[in-house]
């Protein structure tokens, strides 16, 4: 084989190699290493040596009330946050699913909350939630309602984070569902109308089934991202008051990078990963069944 032929044959391999190596570094090395760490006790804050402790970290997780509280809070964000994002996002998408002048501009304006940095979002909401001087309480007072202690009350703090999360991520649901709606050909609407279907029937019998794959994907993505919610907690409440609004990933951060308990933090990350993988598998199974049907 000529020199050129040989070079040509291996070229695709050279193209892929750097990326494959890098991906291996990110997905394989940290996964194995942090699994090994999760079986150890390693307090690097006090300079202690790494000690193998088996599954003790995992046992500790199940009795750690602070961890269980953070798990509950993540559950609240999933249920109320992602739920509201979906409902509201679908509503806006249905409103935008028509043609009018300036539609692109309006859709893009709707997207701004999710485009700006979560850190900026956190700062903005922290000002808005200020008990005495924030615009939100001012508006409540104007409407004749009393001020709400958005960030200082243990019951309220997590819901304040959820409201900011809804504000930030509803646009994501909206834009993806809108893309799904627009992929539905006009002829189907025409056919449904000819058959005498009313709006509600078109929605439940035509749009929902056709949109189902898109709905599943978009909710799954939001669920995976919600487990990682960190920036908003860090900036709006820093988990407070006390530990009232800590989420799993925030407590995970504190354990690893404030208390420097590397082993315990790793086991927490693995526990989280296991839950996410289970949820994702359920969703993907439902999704595939639909694809095949």
């Amino acid at each position: 084989m000529s020199m050129k032929g040989k070079r040509e044959r291996y070229l695709p391999l050279f193209f892929v190699l750097p990326t494959v190596i890098i991906i291996l570094i990110i997905s394989i090395f940290p996964l194995i290493y942090s699994f090994w760490l999760s079986l150890c006790e390693w307090e690097i804050g006090i300079g202690a040596d790494r000690v193998f402790v088996g599954l003790r970290n995992y046992a500790r997780l199940l009795t750690d009330s602070r961890f269980l509280n953070s798990l509950m809070n993540t559950g609240r964000v999933l249920f109320f946050g992602v739920g509201a994002q979906f409902a509201l996002g679908l509503g806006v998408a249905l409103l935008l699913n028509r043609s009018f002048r300036g539609k692109n501009l309006v859709s893009t304006l709707f997207l701004l909350p999710m485009m700006v940095s979560p850190v900026v979002v956190g700062c903005i909401w922290r000002i808005i939630y200020h008990y005495r001087y924030g615009p939100l309480n001012y508006m409540l007072n104007m409407a004749g309602l009393s001020s709400v202690n958005w960030l200082g009350s243990t019951d309220m703090a997590i819901y304040s984070i959820i409201l900011a999360d809804i504000w930030e991520w509803t646009p994501f649901m909206m834009i993806v569902l809108l893309a799904g709606l627009q992929a539905i050909p006009d002829e189907l609407y025409e056919a449904a109308r000819v058959d005498g279907a009313n709006r509600w029937q078109i929605f439940t019998y035509m749009l929902v089934p056709l949109l189902r794959p898109v709905m599943i994907i978009v909710i799954l993505i939001r669920i995976m991202d919600t487990f990682k919610i960190f920036d908003l907690v860090f900036l709006i409440t820093f988990g407070g008051p006390g530990q009232a609004s800590e989420t799993v990933s925030f407590y995970n951060y504190l354990t690893g990078f404030r208390h420097f308990s590397m082993g315990y933090a790793s086991s927490m990350a693995y526990f989280q990963l296991a839950i996410i993988v289970i949820i994702a598998n359920i969703f993907l199974r439902v999704w595939r069944r639909r694809e095949e049907a």
Binding site: L13, I22, S34, L109, S117, G134, D225, F230, Y270
Partner: protein, 274 residues
């Protein structure tokens, strides 16, 4: 009674207007705050439009770390974008044309999105600590490139697959090399996709917070970490924070308008083609 109407009736118009107000007013409030004087952002009733309306707090915000933050973010973001787009599109081309291990890629991408940040952050932190690379540009550029790469490969693979093979085959018949076919035929044709992918990398790296918080410290302080740091002090400098936050949002808001066409595809990792 049509479901998908042309034009907007009065009810839909008001519905959209109220929703748009809800989604935009916090951002507008932030911009307004950046022009407020001390004493104007902590008053009751709140001041809506500043009476002084000066750029003083922009200057001060930039002086207390905002300028350094934006500079650091630019260095890191631009390097990351270049690295991940170059390496990623090479790999994507191979996968699209020669089907090297391409079938499992969807799962790889998804599993990286599932990973809790601490699971990858902890080993990376220990790794960079061992190499004495904490608090350097290299650490963040490398980390962000690693995170961006699978995403770039995935998006670019989609764009290359949409390209008809025949164009490159014709070039090969005419005596062009494979590399030539890639750089002279395929790459220019996917350039809109390439630009969109680059912008997504830019957006991710520019907005990222937790990795920057852990891997940077005092010498390398991206703008997100800088803004968050300004909240920690005794007196919270809201005007300065809002000013730097506004500046940090400008490139992203511009990107939003440029990206429109590609947004859905990028955000859903190609699962939904917008």
């Amino acid at each position: 009674m049509r479901y998908r109407k042309n034009g907007v009736n009065i009810l839909v118009f008001f519905g959209l207007a109220i929703l748009l107000l809800f989604f935009l007013s916090p951002i507008i409030w932030n911009v307004l705050t950046s022009f407020k004087d001390r004493g104007e952002y902590f008053t009751y009733p709140p001041v809506f439009i500043s009476s002084t309306f000066s750029f003083e707090y922009y200057q001060h915000g930039l002086a207390i770390g905002g300028a350094k933050g934006i500079q650091d973010s630019l260095i890191i973001t631009l390097s990351t974008t270049a690295i991940s787009v170059i390496l990623g599109s090479l790999a994507a081309y191979s996968i699209a044309r020669f089907r090297i291990g391409g079938d499992n890629f969807a799962f790889w991408i998804l599993s990286i999105r599932m990973l809790p940040p601490v699971a990858s952050l902890l080993p990376l932190f220990l790794f960079f600590r061992f190499l004495r690379l904490l608090d350097t540009y290299e650490a963040l550029i490398l980390t962000y490139s690693i995170i961006n790469l699978p995403f770039v490969v995935w998006l670019m693979k989609g764009f290359f697959e949409e390209l008809p093979k025949e164009l490159e085959e014709a070039a090969l018949v005419d005596g062009c090399s494979r590399l030539g076919a890639f750089t002279r035929i395929a790459l220019p044709l996917v350039s809109p996709g390439l630009v969109a992918t680059a912008l997504f990398c830019f957006m991710f790296s520019w907005n990222e917070f937790i990795f920057a918080l852990i891997l940077g410290r005092s010498r390398v302080v991206p703008v997100t970490v800088n803004i968050a740091g300004m909240i920690g002090g005794h007196e919270i400098l809201w005007a300065e924070i809002s000013a730097v936050a506004t500046l940090a949002s400008v490139p992203i808001i511009l990107l939003a308008f440029v990206l429109q066409r590609f947004l859905v595809r990028g955000l859903t990792l190609g699962a939904v083609k917008g």
